[in-house]
């Protein structure tokens, strides 16, 4: 008889801006590798973490900061069956951002909704 595969709800919490530190990139790498484990994955972007999803990121080697632009990878997440991307409403508003500023489709959540979503999770990874 096959062993029942455990499926847990994994939440990745992102609160830091991209490029200033490596947390955005390396947390995304965990999500990508983690996709192979067929768990129930959600991503939350709060505080400066919302900037990770900003469109128009340009990191040219010749004239820019010379770092790899990994923002397009957020668009590829749905190919990995990672589709639950939640963004904190207050963080967006504080930063003058709207959905149109983002590179990928997200669900914008109020505090109570985000808290409710967090309450459903089994494992929370913070970076």
């Amino acid at each position: 008889m096959d062993e029942q595969e455990v499926i847990k709800k994994f939440l990745y919490v992102n609160r830091k801006a991209p490029y200033g530190t490596i947390y955005a990139l390396e947390s995304l790498e965990v999500v990508l590798i983690g996709a192979a484990f067929d768990q129930d994955v959600s991503l939350a972007f709060i505080d400066d973490g919302v900037y990770q999803l900003k469109n128009n990121q340009q990191t040219s080697v010749t004239s820019g900061i010379g770092m790899k632009d990994f923002s397009k990878t957020y668009r590829a997440l749905e190919d990995y069956d990672v589709e639950k991307l939640y963004v904190d409403k207050k963080s967006m508003e504080e930063r003058g951002l709207t959905k149109d500023d983002l590179i990928v489709n997200v669900e914008i959540l109020e505090d109570a909704q985000m808290a409710e979503m967090m309450e459903q999770q089994d494992v929370v990874l913070s970076f």
């Binding site: 455990v6 390396e26 790498e29 965990v30 768990q39 929370v124």
Partner: protein
């Protein structure tokens, strides 16, 4: 209780590794199980065999090695983060054509899947970072 531990920062620079160590030690003393300690981001530097900290302060790397030995802990260093930061075991060094390796005793290098697996298999995952 079966605990998984994630250490996101390197030795000395942040208190994360210390806090993780103290937590792990306390958990073991209480009879809990540590499923795995996973080192990510700069946390991979907790596995450097080459650290020479001042004699009058704690030796973070050795402390982890000793705890690992005493309790048969699984201390895993993420290969992707390790490669970025120049943390290599003998095999990796050979594979990458590097003239040296620097992984301390008690640690092993493996993939990010080990972190996910720790999340799946542990009852609690605790993150220590910045």
């Amino acid at each position: 209780m079966k605990f998984g531990i994630l250490v996101n920062e390197g030795p000395y620079q942040h208190q994360a590794s210390d806090s993780a160590y103290q937590f792990t030690k306390a958990a073991l003393e209480k009879g809990h199980e540590i499923y795995r300690v996973f080192f990510y981001h700069d946390g991979v530097n907790n596995a450097s065999r080459l650290t020479v900290p001042p004699q009058d302060d704690r030796h973070i790397v050795n402390r982890w090695s000793e705890l690992s030995k005493a309790h048969n802990l699984d201390l895993v260093v993420c290969i992707a983060a390790a490669q970025r930061r120049g943390m290599l075991d003998e095999n990796e060094a050979k594979r990458q054509g590097k003239d040296s390796n620097n992984l301390a005793e008690g640690f092993r290098i493996s993939g990010l899947g080990q972190l996910i697996e720790a999340g799946i298999q542990s009852e609690r995952l605790i993150v220590f970072g910045d």
